[in-house]
Symmetry: C2
Subunit: 194 residues, 2 copies
Amino acid sequence: MRDAEQTRKKILEISADEIHKKGFTATSLSCILARCGISKGALYYHFSNKMELGYAVFEEVYAPAFIALWQPPVESEDPIQGLCDFFSAMSKEMTCDEIVCGCPLNNLCQEMSGVDEGFRIRILAMQQQLNLLIATNLLRVSKQLKPDLDFSQIAYFIVSTFHGSSSLSKSSLNKELFDKVIKELCRYLQQLKR
Amino acid sequence: MRDAEQTRKKILEISADEIHKKGFTATSLSCILARCGISKGALYYHFSNKMELGYAVFEEVYAPAFIALWQPPVESEDPIQGLCDFFSAMSKEMTCDEIVCGCPLNNLCQEMSGVDEGFRIRILAMQQQLNLLIATNLLRVSKQLKPDLDFSQIAYFIVSTFHGSSSLSKSSLNKELFDKVIKELCRYLQQLKR
DNA sequence: CCATTTACAGACCGTGCGGTCGGTATGTAT
DNA sequence: ATACATACCGACCGCACGGTCTGTAAATGG
């Protein structure tokens, strides 16, 4: 055959990129088709409609990438330092465009949570998974941290701040505000230690 | 006349509500017209196009409301306590729907900053104004706070976390996550004191 | 009283969207 | 060789959107 699996992957990757940059609703199938160099028939052979394509992008591209991104820093020996290094590396290494573009999960959360149940439950599951990941690893090193901390609360706090910072950057078109918030976030994180 | 000014205000208020709930792009003029009980001719008599209507909503509804919301807590004698009370009151008094709906400024920032320059500069101006408001008032009481704090950085951090928390709530459809983040935010704020 | 402006009404238009459907070429099993 | 499933093509459809344009009743100035 003409390698259907590769066609499917190409659709997923390009769709992921388009949705990341433009959002789900603003992403047009025509644009995806043009970039893929395929026809509408090809796309609708692999995906039953736009929503299902969106779900597939979330599950097969965003979700794995998201976990692969957060897991290493959080599961390192020192999660506090791991997260600080993780955030700092973003400030340094990511381009201005990448930061302004924001986290796909947060973008979709804002755009689609209130519109489509299918997206909402997937996003919620991802957020809970991330929260559990962070909270359990903070618990793991709780001896090195101050007493009486609510790790789930802290985990949600960290993620909120991180997502809020990239949201903030979207209006300024530069990394400055992002850097500032990340700096303060790292200061906050270090304060959790004894 | 048939009170043109009142018609204009009605359009602005209903548009503000629609845009807040659905976002700018997803808000259809037809829907606004139906809720206002007016015709398309009326709307296009007062506003040259959808964008200009959006700008007017931002400047005449969102911006004043935004300042009126943040100014009192921040300009109180104790801004730290003022902000804590301000956030806590939100957790208690706001309905689940209101929280999930999010802050109009943050919503528009996410949706429109990358799409339209007119929106972007207005949102940026608003964010800078808020940042200045918070930072100067923290500076005002800096004697009561820990030394070597970057107040602008802290101000951006606070707003980021707040906006991030309402973003987080959108996928869970309840106040629980919002409450958690707000609690931790208040804990952080109190830590700023000597 | 009349002319002109104001403040709307509503039919209409072009565009771009997601989605459908009949057709076609390529591979595979018998 | 034949039959059938797979993988894809691209014209077409209905729809909802923002926007335009002509018409008209109410207010206002002379």
